[in-house]
Symmetry: C2
Subunit: 248 residues, 2 copies
DNA sequence: CGCGTGCTTGAAGCGGGTCAACAACAGTGG
DNA sequence: CCACTGTTGTTGACCCGCTTCAAGCACGCG
């Protein structure tokens, strides 16, 4: 990870313009701008957090993709969730305790860094931001609940359809989708199968079967949803609405 | 669920005496006492939250066991986590949105109720409690991370050993263990297998095999860990430490 | 006594895991 | 320029683990 000079002024933050994010007051924005220490840059494959290590930083993803993971002593790895621009990470660890999960970059990732020490100040002087932090933690919890339901109860074809659908939704909400409604996914099938708790081989074979439904196309890492209703059905899921969320 | 008259005065809360929980200042305790609206009582099998419904309340479990779950449109159910005394629930939903998961009582459960409306006040005037709320949300996230790793990567015998071990740890930390180190688990094998994403039959058969290791005994819902080191090994896990946590 | 619930065990079949081989492609270095 | 190598995707073959179906047992309760 490389420290870079301060680049994006919070008041001009391109993320904040997106309709996905809630408006903040000027005072809050001023505080955030002061809270921000600088930026980091991380190359694909680089570690943003190391499992079991401590880090004095909190981050907001400015751009790029990463994933949270956790592994067993013998090396088996579970990808817990993907991290997209606007996501806030690092809340889980207090300074005393090491991270219980790792975060690894999938693409070039730019991160806003914040000091854990100044978190106190945020809670004391900016209750609405504190509330936003709690909101973000609760949101991550929701995502994990869903993932748990998927892995525990869905069969493999449903899991794959569910994952691709959710990735598309999140990416679209974050404004990452190109003109044709096509999403370029930065992860390999190995990543995806580690996310769903299934073997790479089974992932690929089940994917082939799913392709025949024509509900989506997914080749060369380019995902397009052709029929969202069919996709939701394949995933044994229900439609849901995206609501605005805080950005810190 | 039955509304009962105010019974436990927060200043005399029996939970708070437990070494598991962090100390609070008098001012904080006063606020909590005012924040508390009353108590509810829930019989075994009763719904504390209904999946997809809204509720104006937040709760802290005073006594008893419950579980969080989420289900698929066709009825398959995943138990996400168990809820023990001292756990704070309900943060996930804002008033606008329905609960995405349900919570059901396993035993008689006594709950302290709080009004969601007054959450603002908590964030504005008691930053340390706000911080505690965030801490609790992050803790739930950690538990879910672990559960996800277990279901996604562990094989069935490891999953069972892991679940029994973790339940014992949590119950011991909460002071629920009798003299002999024996824990009376209120859930059926069906619940346990729904937690681990495996069939009841496979759960039972794998359990039989595990019993032969003599690392624990588990009959009549009474669980005793005989050899914790062996248990941790069976679970493909690593020892970990329990730290003090906030109680609201 | 009869019924319901939860635990246990056997038998059968399939889903998914592991092993293995190959194709397509990008990057490297001689 | 091209052989060499590593990564990613794809497919076939085999077999074990898990799910499903089914039946029996123990227990508590009306």
């Amino acid at each position: 990870m490389v420290e870079t000079s301060r680049q994006v002024e919070c008041h001009l933050c391109p993320l904040r313009k997106r309709p996905l994010f809630q408006a903040v007051t000027d005072a809050e924005l001023d505080f955030i701008a002061g809270f921000k220490m600088g930026e980091l840059h991380c190359r694909p494959g680089g570690a943003i957090y190391l499992e079991g290590a401590t880090s004095p930083h909190l981050f907001t993803i400015l751009s790029g993709w990463a994933f949270r993971y956790k592994s067993l002593p013998d090396g088996r790895r579970q990808i817990l969730n993907y991290v997209l621009p606007g996501d806030f990470i690092g809340l889980q660890a207090t300074l005393a305790h090491p991270m219980e999960h790792g975060i690894e970059a999938l693409t070039d990732v730019r991160l806003c860094t914040f000091s854990r020490d100044r978190l106190d100040e945020l809670f004391r002087h900016h209750p609405s931001l504190a509330r936003s932090l709690t909101w973000l933690a609760a949101r991550e919890e929701r995502l994990l609940d869903e993932q748990l339901l998927a892995i525990g109860q869905r069969k493999s074809s449903e899991r794959i359809a569910f994952l691709l659908w959710r990735l598309m939704r999140r990416a679209r909400d974050s404004g990452l989708i190109g003109e044709q409604g096509t999403l370029l996914l930065p992860m390999t099938q190995q990543h995806l199968s580690d996310t769903l708790g299934m073997s790479l081989v089974n992932f690929n074979k089940t994917l082939q079967r799913l392709r025949k439904t024509k509900a989506f196309t997914f080749a060369d890492r380019r995902l397009t949803i052709l029929d969202e209703t069919a996709m939701v059905k394949l995933a044994a899921a229900e439609k849901y609405v995206t609501d605005k969320r805080p950005l810190i």
